[in-house]
């Protein structure tokens, strides 16, 4: 099969690009080595749409962050993704930080980003858990939170409905040029394409080198996090940052769309691009550093720790370029990558100067807009009477019904694993971390995908929670 455009990587960047380009009358393929969309960098991060006052002037990060952040409200409306402009508080707690604080204010002003400087007293009225040392706070009301993998998935679903193809479990092993573009050699055979868009995240340097480019290394930079349960949802209502330093944005308290709180991340350069392990040192560092901006941290409500990896590069700014004909390179898309994603897609579109016409009919809206949990009591009752499985609660912590789980398996780019279900509709995200619901989700997946229970994977191949059925309940 020959494609006009092949996008390598289905993270939030690849998916945003696919969404943007799917209006063109050409054939587009998205490949990803993972078994689900947005399964690596986009899956584990702070999930923030930064307002754009942080990146330095003259950088691509600064430009695309501001643009992207402004595109988000409409984008999320179109694709039916959650978007909450909770606002951010940058907390100054020592006099030495005054210069940095003032610089942030200046940049916000210059970039026309709404902001407000709050006194300690005003800020504490809104966030009682700010540390007693707080001197003043820079409030950024347009800073928002999203679910990055949802933003990716929902965009890619629209692209698929516009004709884009997606191959998962498809790892690009080498690339050779041919008379009219490139041949991708993958574990699923050869794929011919005219144009390549390299949005391979952590592996973007390796993909770039496959076509002979000399690029800098992607440096995996690990960030560890704690997740607090819903019991702690009132701990912070805004994203709370310390004043940024040369090392990064510091340790944050971030409310999530689903009313958890994230605490983290640290930033540690590591060797292994899959080194998502957490460490005693890292977690202890977060516990300690967090206290520079907040107090009364309800560590009792921690339900999970995790680590995500940022695809950083030594030169710091995003690299988005067309270094050779028909090849777009995206390198070093770390923070503010999420905030910039829609603007990056637009930028890539401009770089490409595609010769294809725009389709007469194409979708920009995602058709999967139904959210059972947002219905009223009466509406839920009526809906269950028509669709009884929506009354069967499978996950008690997050109150997810069988109907919602089945639906997310059968949608376009549906879930094929327990983690896939968890990403889409949340069973296992709560306090019991799947202790009660995982066996039930496993049964539903086996039934809906017509496979044996021991073939149901938690995530990638080899993560099946059960090995073999040894007898027992007949209907298991």
């Amino acid at each position: 099969m020959k494609y006009d455009i092949t996008i390598i990587g289905s993270g939030i960047i690849g998916s945003s690009i696919a969404y943007r380009l799917s209006k063109y009358d050409c054939s587009i393929l998205v490949v990803d080595k993972e078994n689900d969309v947005a399964n690596e960098v986009s899956m584990a991060n702070s999930a923030i749409v930064h307002a754009g006052h942080d990146p330095e002037e003259g950088t691509l990060k600064g430009k695309l962050n501001v643009l992207g952040s402004r595109m988000y409200p409409q984008l999320c409306k179109d694709i039916g993704a959650h978007y909450k402009p909770v606002g951010a508080f940058t907390v100054m707690h020592s006099k030495e930080q005054q210069a940095t604080f003032d610089a942030l204010v200046e940049r916000a002003k210059a970039r026309d980003i709404p902001y407000e400087v709050l006194s300690a007293e005003e800020a504490k009225k809104q966030e009682p858990n700010l540390t007693d040392e707080v001197i003043q706070v820079l409030s950024m009301p347009t800073t928002a939170i999203v679910i990055p993998w949802e933003v990716a998935l929902k965009q890619l679903q629209v692209a698929v409905l516009n004709g884009t193809e997606v191959k998962l479990n498809c790892e690009v092993q080498s690339i050779t040029p041919n008379e009219d573009g490139y041949t991708l050699h993958t574990n699923q055979g050869e794929i011919e394409t005219k144009i390549i868009i390299n949005s391979a995240g952590l592996y973007a340097d390796e993909v770039a080198r496959m076509v002979g480019l000399e690029v800098e290394d992607v440096i995996p930079r690990r960030g560890e996090y704690f997740v607090l349960s819903h019991d702690a949802k009132n701990f912070a209502h805004h994203i709370i940052y310390p004043i940024p330093t040369a090392k990064g944005k510091g340790i944050l308290a971030v409310p999530t769309v689903d009313e958890n709180i994230l605490l983290g991340p640290n930033a540690e350069g590591i060797e292994d691009k899959q080194g998502v392990n957490t460490t005693i040192e890292g977690l202890n560092y977060i516990r300690k550093e967090l206290l520079t901006s907040v107090k009364n941290v309800p560590f009792y409500n921690i339900i999970r720790t995790f680590a995500g990896i940022r695809p950083s590069i030594a030169s710091k700014d995003f690299i988005i370029e067309k270094p050779i004909e028909n090849f777009i390179n995206l390198l070093g898309i770390d923070s503010p990558g999420i905030a910039s994603a829609p603007a990056i897609a637009e930028y890539v579109e401009e770089l490409l100067e595609l010769p294809y016409p725009i389709k007469e009919n194409y979708e920009t809206k995602n058709p999967y807009t139904f959210r059972f949990q947002e219905l009223s009591v009466e509406e839920k009752d009526a809906y269950i009477k028509e669709h009884p499985t929506y009354g069967n609660i499978v996950c008690r912590c997050e109150q997810v019904s069988e109907g919602e789980i089945v639906a997310c398996i059968h949608e376009v780019l549906g879930a094929t694993s327990i983690k896939g279900v968890k990403k889409r509709v949340r069973p296992g995200m709560g306090k019991c971390q799947g202790g009660f619901c995982q066996p039930l989700v496993l049964e539903i997946l086996a039934r809906e995908l017509h496979c044996k229970p021991e073939e149901v994977q938690y995530d990638q191949l080899g993560t099946n929670p059960v090995l073999a059925w040894k007898g027992g309940r007949e209907d298991a």
């Binding site: 392990n277 921690i302 993560t463 309940r473």
Partner: protein, 416 residues
């Protein structure tokens, strides 16, 4: 909106006992709501024996113990709705309920909370390392093995010597897995003594006291677990590492009352029990809201859960019949060596002939005394050969003593 005199949330041992007590005392308009396909709760996956020594003076399996109460409830004609989840509970005692027939609001006059507990997970105890497949809480593993009939692993290590962990050490062995050991952070076990003997010693499974897991390796499946000895501050000691090549790690690191609904309703929890605060009728600060079983505090024996369920049922009966006088009592306090005392308040000191107090010690004691004080004045002393945190202790005080207490009742340990 459906109206029900008394709704019991949860059809496990606490909920069933409460329902039976209510029905026997003339409260007919009852409803037990159970999320699972049958009543009995977690007992249904506890296929080992050891249940019922206090209630029935015999040793039953978990399902057999549950069945006795299920049958009694059936004979009494108690309405039970299974496969039904309570999704919200409000301070006005209205509750939202979901099942395959629909979604409705039920208004109750009294509510008994009997939702049981949850296991602490690897995230809660923050084991560093990778997050591969093969790490399960012991209860989830128990369900996969005992209810669903799956094999989950072949070489197994267990962190935490809670009872479920000990029971699962034996269970995994009987299922053909090799259990390489059990590590316990504390210098003593958190399980019942009989489980240490019957589940570990009888199967030559080593118990590593003062040890914890300090690394998890392998991806996508677990390959290695590292344990380290810990010092008196429970910090790992460098150089004491032992590595076990296993594909399964079970966690038995504590249970936490499942008060998600309660917290959403705005009722605050006792910081030590993580359950609500109650009086001697298991009644919360909100009149007509009762709690019993593991949602109130984590028990060691199901027999005690049943007894507490009956107590809550009795309280609900008296509340509904308008028999309870004005609240006028005292609070209880966990003194030296005690982690918590239940009930947290006695509201009606002159109502009953006696009140039973449950508590746990913070650490093991030998030849110590339990001392009960009215403020600073000693009112009772009980000599104990041994006291263990894993075992719940009880003291019963008669009305004559209770009516003399006006400030606070303190229970403490005094070493010999």
């Amino acid at each position: 909106m459906r109206k029900v005199t008394c709704v019991i949330i949860g059809g496990g041992s606490a909920g069933l006992a409460a329902a039976i007590e209510l029905k026997k005392n003339g409260i007919d308009d009852l409803l037990v709501l159970e999320k699972g396909p049958e009543v009995g709760g977690i007992l249904n996956q506890c296929i080992h024996n050891g249940f019922g020594l206090h209630e029935f003076k015999e040793e039953l399996s978990g399902p057999a113990y549950a069945e006795r109460f299920a049958l009694q409830a059936e004979e009494l004609g108690i309405p039970i709705e299974c496969n039904t989840t309570v999704t919200a509970f409000y301070p006005d005692k209205s509750i939202e309920v979901s099942n395959k027939n629909g979604y409705e609001v039920i208004q109750a006059d009294a509510v008994v909370l009997a939702m049981g507990c949850q296991e602490r997970t690897s995230g809660q105890i923050q084991i560093p390392g990778m997050r591969p497949q093969g790490v399960y809480t012991a209860g989830t593993a128990q369900r996969y093995v005992n209810i669903d009939g799956y094999q989950i692993g072949k070489r197994c290590f267990i962190l935490g010597s809670g009872d479920i962990g000990l029971i699962m050490a034996r269970r995994m062995t009987l299922e053909g897995a090799k259990v390489l050991g059990v590590a316990e952070l504390m210098p003593y076990s958190n399980g019942l003594q009989r489980n240490i003997v019957q589940c570990l010693k009888d199967y030559d499974i080593p118990l590593y006291l003062s040890h914890t897991v300090t690394n998890i390796e392998g991806y996508p499946r677990l390959q290695k677990v590292t344990i380290s000895e810990v010092d008196e501050n429970r910090q790992p000691i460098k150089g004491s590492e032992k590595v076990f090549e296993v594909d399964t790690l079970l966690l038995s690191v504590g249970l936490v009352p499942d008060n998600t609904l309660t917290v959403e309703a705005g009722i605050s929890l006792d910081a030590r029990t993580r359950g609500i605060e109650v009086n001697e009728y298991c009644e919360s600060i909100m009149p007509g809201v009762f709690a019993a079983g593991n949602v109130l505090h984590v028990h060691d024996l199901v027999d005690y859960v049943t007894a507490e369920g009956r107590k809550a049922g009795r309280g609900a009966v008296r509340y509904l019949k308008g028999e309870l006088p004005e609240r006028n009592g005292f609070v209880t306090k966990a003194g030296n060596g005690i982690s918590y005392v239940l009930p947290q308040r006695v509201d009606y000191p002159s109502e009953d002939e006696s009140v039973e107090f449950s508590f746990r010690v913070r650490s093991p004691y030998k030849n110590a005394s339990i001392v009960v004080k009215n403020g600073n004045e000693e009112v009772k002393r009980i000599k104990k050969l041994a006291l263990l945190p894993a075992e719940m202790e009880k003291v019963i005080l008669p009305k004559e003593v209770l009516t003399t207490i006006h400030d606070e009742l303190v229970i403490e340990v005094e070493e010999a």
